[in-house]
Symmetry: C2
Subunit: 228 residues, 2 copies
DNA sequence: ATACAAGCTTCTGTATACAGAATCCCGTAC
DNA sequence: GTACGGGATTCTGTATACAGAAGCTTGTAT
């Protein structure tokens, strides 16, 4: 736990930047890495002391963490680390699939030649990472590709929702994260082709199947890993 | 402005319930009814005094208002009432259509006989209100019908996103709110029939067209009203 | 007249302090 | 041994206090 704390503390003295943001990031980190366990009661004073700040920024961070689905805030009782359930994971994946599908449609409608070029560049990065067996780069490339498609779609509201949902989805499968690999990137290539042609129906259909497959894949792995 | 303030103040002494919620509600009310204008700088101390509370609950309310899209929070500068744009309205309507469409699909897959019965009851309520020319009841029935469809879909994540997006959409067209009327309720009837049959594809298709039409309708009215 | 800079004012961001609710612990009664 | 109740404790929710940044005002120089 201490590393995260010192990180936040040093960030504090370094800049006059909003402290609650550092707390927000630190707490997500602690939740993701398991230092704070699902259902655990988060006592504001404790967090404040550990992070070297007052209760105020902690409270504000907790509020945002609630709206982002990381903690539950029970009135007069405080914050509790949200307990993920299989059901909620399914719901998140379902919603994400719908949003990403819409995003692909928008991208196909709006993509300019330079956008397509950039998409192919990201695709190449992913394929290279796959060939090198560099998992970290692979995950980064995947994230970048999806994010860029969303940005091409040009719908800020959509982009924000996708980012929100994706972050939450990621949490569930964090401990067993394992990219799907070759198949996924073949699907990406087909997707980019459809976007390049401006074929919105085909692009959205490919994305729908793509995200649904990814969801199924993750759930299968989770089941195999015996994750709650 | 004063009514909202006294309301919040009285709510304060009345219960030990979370004060920030009252502030949150009061501020949305003030934004919707135009007391707080788009772009306006919201000074925490002023709001706190007017509402008869300290800055603390105000700050926490502002945070949530930001994540819900009502205000923009600029670091070291404070909160500003969010300025709605035509573009953002279009994006919200687009996202809402996608989410509602998915909701209709889920409802068709899950609907039990008693759910269908309840849907028809809500439909009847809407038709009655339409016949009576009771706009308020009509809007309420419409909201209830859509909400019930979402609840039948049984996806809590989806439900929350829809509720969030719908609230924001409503703001844009608040000043010129005017239900679409007969056509909309004919579409509702077809939708319920599809749900009753468990025809997910048809249900989602009807909902897609329905929400898109409603969106177009609202935009047309807004344009006619010369709204920014 | 305009551009610039120093000082002041205002406001946010953070910390500390206080009041009351919820919970827990322990003793007592049955 | 178990159920109940009172008191202490802990924690949240709210209020007040303080430090520093951002913006405005005013005066000066070009």
């Amino acid at each position: 736990m201490d590393e995260a704390l010192t990180a936040a503390a040093s960030r504090r003295v370094a800049r006059p930047a909003p402290l609650r943001q550092a707390v927000y990031d630190a707490l997500i980190e602690l939740i993701i890495n398991g230092s704070l366990k699902p259902g655990q009661h988060l006592v504001e004073a404790e967090l404040a002391e550990h992070l070297g700040v007052s209760r105020q920024p902690v409270r504000e961070a907790l509020q945002r963490l609630q709206t982002d689905g990381w903690v539950d805030l029970r009135p007069a009782q405080g914050a509790f680390v949200h307990s993920p359930t299989e059901e909620e994971a399914t719901q998140l994946l379902s919603v994400r699939a719908v949003l990403e599908t819409h995003s692909a449609r928008g991208a196909a409608q709006n993509a300019k030649p330079e956008d397509v070029e950039q998409l192919w560049a990201l695709q190449q990065e992913g394929v290279d990472a796959l060939a090198d067996g560099d998992v970290e780069r692979l995950v980064a490339a995947n994230t970048a590709l999806h994010a860029f498609i969303t940005s091409v779609a040009g719908n800020a509201v959509l982009a924000e929702l996708i980012s929100q949902v994706t972050r939450r989805v990621r949490w569930y499968y964090m401990p067993i994260a394992k990219p799907r690999g070759k198949d996924a990137w073949n699907e990406h290539a087909q997707l980019i082709e459809a976007i390049a042609k401006g074929d919105a129906d085909r692009a959205s259909e490919i994305m729908r199947k793509h995200t649904e497959r990814t969801g199924e894949y993750r759930k299968a792995i989770a089941a195999a890993a015996g994750q709650d």
